[in-house]
Symmetry: C2
Subunit: 414 residues, 2 copies
């Protein structure tokens, strides 16, 4: 018997039928003797409906009132889910973010959680009640309603699990868990049983958008075991937790991420002087544009090429900035290439095994795929290649490391 | 410059267009320099939508969760109205019942207000903000969300006006105010400028359902001047306030109320003994049936007839109870008459003028309408007559007292 925090997203509670199914699932856990705290999102398209109402009034709705408005979405779900549980004979009590109380800063529409008072929840659990908490919301010090922004409900769940010292935080979604790569690209993509927080962060930010990065960071920081699993199908999903020591012994690859919507910019022929990278990247960052992969190569002629990638829809704006920069630096030219993509191999402990990198590059060579940029970090190797080779590259890598087989010598799942 | 509490009901805020119109109205009051606290209901049919959702889950939804669910309706409105005010350049802050805080007892779905903390509202008014409060809701001592039941938003508004010592509480509805009688029955029905709380209570309970009785009682108790007026048309509406001394000098008739959905029951030939009325009425009240007009007549033969009226849809149930009572009391018979109605003349100071009653009875005699029961109180005379004469009786009385003319010697509006 243990305390589990479960989070059900909008698609899992999108109708009364689905809410009833969630209640059934919770009932099963209660029957096994677990204490359950549930975090829910707004029903299906409810948040969109509310946003549309607000935008009928004003295009940029007042943030404070937007939070008052949006927070009603989750409040509806908590009430209905409690009713569905009570109907099944289980005691259930709903709480809004303000009632819990989930204290946040005062940044409306993207507040950060500061503190959770777990006493009301614990009192209800002691009375054998299921506690159902509205995700995505809190209150600031003055009692104003706040919301946590995108992926806020995942964050609410992790924060509650941390505050309650729950055994596990389960995030129910419409996928079965985290795969070795996108199953739409590789038919043999394999469901991961275990993955570390670090690996999940790399996979999430690189495109395997199962969980909000923020929630994963939060879970890692507070060491909350996080499990991603399907609200609709049976299965244990993927457990995201601290890395185990045994994993460190072997080269261990968690998966392959790919990102399509990037663009590459090169400022060619800048003087090879200290501070040149800052002079190129600085003006771009100052405009709020996020820069991803960066490489700098000194050429033999005493000049330098600075290359980096940005989101594709910000690439024209970046080009315009760089054109000015290039002029003042007397650089040769600025080259924009929108037809690129990034493919990354992610796994704890792979960095220390040179064999991994060379196997990756050989797989690309075998398919005649030209690698434009390579970057490495502790737990990943990313390459930038022509966009049209994305699927081919992912399939080649998945096969080169035999990731479809959990018994593969490279698999983190052994 | 004074503090005004305004309440806008569901039909007045049923769409974004209507909410914009309400914002315009409030803007006008702000431009005149008034401090404004607004109480709003849920948008149009929103409450029905939420009730339907709950009933999809369970027929008799858990009251605590029903309150969590229903209270979202008003919360949506407060946010949207604040946005509409901000768009017009007016500072506005929304508050849920819990945020204000409107403290109630713990009776979910029909809680009673105990106390209001006006400090947050006053602080906002000092900063020149319009304060928009969700009607119909509060919190109990433990912070659970409660709702006030039918007509709750009117009650919220009156309670806030009392707590804030507002100059006036304005209830905006879809009628222009209170009329001398139902304008659908009498074409010349006249809008009342002033009326006392007592008169309004009698008119409301007798069928002129403009305001919830509970709110009028509340306003009377705390001496909050209450004004009923149209959200859609210009006009000063009807001011409901304490009786003025001048009114007492003259026979003064506020209006004529009529009630159609009643039924008359007579237990005939019961022994003429002390306690007999209790023996007849007691068992009916014990079943939760509300008894209205009661008369008892001793006959010359030493027996007694007890007659009273109940709501028509409870009359068959009442008859069944009385049949048993009659048997145990050895009464002669129980007679049920469903084809009756009640017409009442309401006005402060009329009791002391015998001329009023006789003029009323003469008007009925002139129309050949047989009066079955007469009852009187300080401020009203009610008669029970055959249902088919309802409109005829109301028109005859309206004309007999010349109520279509505010200058009439009987009018309370002089």
């Amino acid at each position: 018997m243990s305390l589990i925090v479960q989070k059900y997203g909008g698609t899992s509670v999108g109708s009364i039928e689905l809410i009833e199914a969630v209640a059934e699932k919770i009932a099963g856990f209660r029957d096994q003797g677990h204490d359950i705290v549930v975090v829910v999102s707004a029903m299906g398209s409810e948040t969109n409906r509310l946003v549309a109402l607000a935008q009928e009034v004003m295009e940029q709705p007042v943030p404070r009132e937007m939070d008052v408005l949006l927070s009603t979405g989750e409040q509806v779900t908590i009430a209905l889910l409690c009713m569905a549980l009570e109907k099944r004979g289980f005691g259930a009590r709903s709480f809004t973010g303000g009632q819990v109380r989930i204290l946040t800063d005062a940044t409306h529409t993207k507040a950060r959680i500061r503190e959770i008072d777990s006493s009301r929840i614990l009192a209800q659990l002691e009375q054998n009640n299921v506690v159902v908490v509205a995700g995505f919301q809190g209150v600031d010090e003055d009692g104003n309603i706040t919301t946590l922004g995108r992926g806020g409900s995942d964050t609410s769940a992790v924060a509650l699990a941390a505050a309650l010292e729950a055994e596990e935080c389960q995030i129910y979604t419409d996928v079965n868990g985290v795969y070795t790569t996108d199953p739409r690209i590789v038919e043999g993509a394999c469901l991961l049983k275990n993955i570390t927080f670090e690996e999940m962060l790399e996979l999430a930010s690189l495109g395997a958008k199962v969980l909000q990065i923020r929630a994963v960071e939060f879970a890692g920081k507070y060491k909350v075991p996080l499990r991603v699993l399907s609200a609709f199908e049976e299965g244990d999903g993927t457990l995201i937790s601290l890395e185990e020591e045994t994993v460190m012994e072997n080269p261990s690859i968690a998966g392959i991420a790919s990102e399509r919507d990037e663009a590459k910019l090169t400022v060619a022929g800048v003087p090879d002087l200290p501070g040149i990278a800052y002079k190129v990247i600085g003006p771009v960052s100052n405009e709020g544009i996020e820069v991803d992969v960066i490489v700098q190569n000194a050429a033999v002629d005493g000049t330098n090429d600075v290359t980096f990638t940005v989101k594709r829809d910000e690439s024209e704006k970046t080009k315009a900035i760089l054109d000015k920069v290039a002029q003042s630096l007397e650089a040769r030219e600025v080259i924009l290439d929108k037809k690129i993509c990034k493919v990354s191999l992610v796994g704890v402990g792979m960095r220390s095994h040179a064999g991994i990198a060379s196997r990756m590059f050989k797989a690309m060579a075998d398919e005649n795929i030209n690698i434009q940029i390579i970057t490495t970090s502790e737990i990943k190797i990313s390459i930038v290649i022509e966009e049209r080779y994305l699927e081919l590259a992912v399939r080649a890598l998945h096969s080169a490391f035999n990731l479809g087989d959990p018994q593969s010598e490279f698999s983190s799942q052994r």
